[in-house]
């Protein structure tokens, strides 16, 4: 009993809880920046730590130490609340996604229906970003916020369909169980690859990365909904974006690729193999997301919504019908 409480506390606070997520987020920001830079014949972060490894951490500390400014015209309540909420919600969602489930063999907060909760949180994050921009009372922020809301309309539905298709194929709404099911029956994973592709595109939009960095398009609207944020608040938003990147990679790894579960690696305890499998799958997904970032020009907001409603949703529905067909025929499930 005591051991279980202590183990639970360690799991929550240290591994794979807050401390682990903190360093993993900064690590993936470094991976993302370094890989993106290499694709563009640049060096990327170089000086802080070996190969610039500590640069994201240094950026975070630097921003935290800066002067805290609230514009006179801004809504002070929203301006303070939104950075905290966005970060808190991204961290919260991660407790339902299996990363390294060392104690209970499933994610820390796993319950039947957590995939719906995670989808809700993803939408709330988008909505909070809209409020953040709207509350700062700046012309560029206002345009950026409207774009956040439009973009949410674009990517939310195909993302939900893609994730729920996986839940349908696995026959459960528990993310950890979906992951285990996909590992035990790899054919489900193979049938879900189109849904994975849709989820990758949608998460690229959720994370506001090229070609969907429309809400914070630097050349058009300065920094979009982020324009007025500086110092601590900006640090929190940037860190929240990193956590979201981890969330995106971990969620896609779990729902479509089996997350931390995988064939046992000989001579290695199962907990370590969880860690290795998770790191392997999530890192590949982060690299895929970075690679997309280097390939395209930025779309216009109406083109993005058009792309989403004209193509992504249609493909997502076809995929759902296909999975339903396989279920009825008894090929899977």
């Amino acid at each position: 009993m005591v051991w279980e409480t202590v183990a639970g506390a360690i799991e929550l606070l240290v591994f794979p809880g807050f401390l682990f997520i903190f360093w993993l987020s900064l690590f993936y920001e470094w991976v993302d920046r370094k890989f993106y830079a290499k694709l563009q014949y640049r060096y990327g972060p170089l000086h802080t730590g070996p190969k610039g490894f500590l640069q994201p951490f240094a950026d975070f500390v630097k921003l935290m130490a800066k002067e805290d400014i609230v514009p006179a015209a801004a809504d002070r309540f929203l301006f303070t609340l939104t950075p905290i909420m966005v970060l808190a919600l991204s961290l919260y969602a991660l407790f339902y996604v299996p990363m390294v489930p060392i104690v209970r063999n499933v994610a820390l907060g796993a319950f039947e229906g957590d995939i719906i909760l995670v989808l809700f949180i993803l939408t709330m994050i988008g909505f909070l970003k809209f409020l953040a921009g709207w509350g700062s009372t700046n012309r560029f922020s206002a345009v950026g916020s409207v774009r956040v809301a439009f973009q949410l309309l674009g990517y939310e539905i195909p993302l939900a369909i893609a994730l729920l298709t996986a839940a349908m194929a696995a026959g459960t709404f528990n993310i950890s169980l979906i992951a285990q099911k996909i590992v035990s029956e790899p054919i489900i994973g193979a049938a879900l690859l189109p849904a994975l592709a849709i989820a990758v595109v949608c998460f690229q939009a959720e994370l506001e990365r090229i070609p969907f960095d429309i809400p914070e398009a630097e050349q058009e609207i300065v920094a979009g909904w982020l324009t007025e944020f500086s110092g601590r608040r900006l640090a929190l938003f940037r860190f929240a974006t990193d956590v979201e990147l981890v969330l995106a990679a971990a969620l896609m790894a779990a729902v479509f690729l089996g997350g931390p579960y995988g064939p046992a690696i000989p001579l290695i305890p199962v907990q370590v193999s969880y860690f290795l499998w998770f790191l392997f799958k999530a890192t590949i997904l982060v690299l895929v997301l970075s690679n997309i970032r280097a390939l395209f020009a930025r779309l216009r907001i109406d083109q993005m919504v058009h792309l989403s409603w004209r193509y992504l949703i249609v493909i997502a529905i076809i995929e759902t019908v296909f999975i339903q067909f396989l279920l009825v025929m008894g090929v899977i499930g």
Binding site: L39, Q219, E220, A294, A297
Partner: protein
């Protein structure tokens, strides 16, 4: 602004004088309805540097270095047109070899300027990978310019009566080798522009300008040629050695941002061909002749095709070693009415790329002209009126 009634749905966005899309200060005051631009008032003149006035206090040789600094990117064409004007004032003819060297350097400069623009355009579209690739290959041309002139940006190459450095056979060989590599890289970018779907989505049918409007609004350079109007100072009023070198004036018919990209890419190919031809047919002989220190009273104009369009200089001499008046008209100034027309009716997201499509070089542009928004009356002040106005203004404070 004007105080008269405006519907609530109109949203005003000031872009500039400081804005990430602008590399130099200009204020574009947009009126937006929904996401569509309904009006835009451009206000240049944030960087008036008094160069024209400063030329009157310096002698003809010192002014070369001053005029070189009118523009940071097309610095050679400014010295070329300036020295060409002073040669016409003094009625001397530069030696033929100097003319060819001037053509070679100005075409290399055109390549580096267009490559720079293509990178900036990609950056404005959020396509940073293309931006970094193009700027890496632009280094090739910058290195060649350094090899010829000793400098990367302000070449100090053209001087009154000729050029300051010769192109040796070895350097000529290097340039040819460089042009061969550059053409191969250009093929890659042509392919990207032709086939990359997200790039095409952002540039096809965006920022359209009809040939009629382009001519009526006095557009110049690639902005004009992108609408299909075949007008180029190099062909229409050949200067230096351009009358001896065969080349095509690149045009494209659609008049949108894609056309601007295509015209500039074609011009880069054309410039590489001109350089190769000029290196093969370069006559021997001296590269510089002597020009008298004092120049008799005279009045001339001098024109050249800068990378951004027609560059125009007016000179008046008064028999001393200093000019009486030098008047410069840079191509960006001529293109500002056209870019206003190009922006109307498009989305907020297209502001950066459409404005960047004229390749604005604003620090060369600062001039005075006044428009009263209420009455629509416009006027231009000369120096004396401006001085009187400033005395009155500061007297009131």
């Amino acid at each position: 602004m004007s105080g008269e009634y405006e519907p609530e749905s109109i949203f005003e966005i000031p872009v500039g004088p400081q804005h990430p899309a602008l590399k130099e200060p200009i204020l574009l005051h947009f009126k937006i309805e929904g996401d569509i631009i309904v009006d835009v008032i451009p206000r240049p003149a944030y960087t008036h540097r008094g160069i024209e006035k400063a030329t009157e206090a310096r002698n003809y040789i010192q002014n070369i270095y001053l005029c070189e600094r009118v523009c940071g990117i097309c610095s050679f064409i400014h010295t070329l047109v300036y020295t060409q004007g002073v040669e016409r004032l003094a009625e001397v003819e530069p030696p033929p070899r100097a003319k060819y060297i001037r053509v070679i350097v100005s075409e290399l400069e055109r390549i580096h300027s267009h490559a720079l623009w293509l990178g900036v355009a990609a950056h404005e579209l959020g396509f940073d990978t293309l931006f970094y690739y193009i700027w890496r290959d632009r280094e090739l041309v910058m290195d060649l310019l350094e090899l010829i002139t000793g400098n990367r940006v302000n070449y100090a190459m053209s001087t009154v009566g000729g050029v300051r450095r010769d192109i040796t056979d070895e350097v000529a060989h290097q340039i040819k080798k460089g042009m061969k590599i550059f053409r191969e890289r250009l093929d890659v970018y042509t392919e990207v522009v032709e086939q990359e779907p997200t790039l095409r989505k952002r540039v096809v049918d965006v920022g359209k300008l009809s040939p009629h409007d382009a001519v009526a609004l006095c557009a110049v350079g690639p902005t004009l040629r992108a609408t299909g109007v075949k007008r180029d100072v190099r062909a229409d009023d050949p200067y230096q050695a351009y009358d001896e070198i065969p080349f095509n004036v690149a045009t494209y018919h659609t008049g949108d941002v894609l056309a601007q990209i295509v015209v500039r890419v074609l011009e880069m190919y054309e410039a590489a061909n001109i350089i190769d031809y000029a290196l093969d047919h370069m006559p021997g002989g001296p590269i510089r002749v002597k020009v008298p220190w004092n120049i008799a009273p005279n009045e001339v104009i001098s024109r050249g095709e800068a990378p951004r369009g027609e560059l125009f200089y007016y000179f008046k001499s008064n028999g001393t070693e200093k000019p009486e008046r030098v008047k410069i008209r840079t191509p960006t100034l001529a293109n500002i009415p056209a870019v206003r027309q190009m922006l109307l009716g498009y989305h907020i997201a297209e502001i950066p790329i459409v404005f960047a499509s004229i390749d604005p070089c604003l620090s060369c542009t600062a001039r005075f002209s006044f428009i009263d928004v209420k009455t629509g009356k416009s006027w231009v002040w000369d120096r004396e009126q401006l001085r009187r106005y400033s005395l009155k203004w500061y007297g009131k404070q």
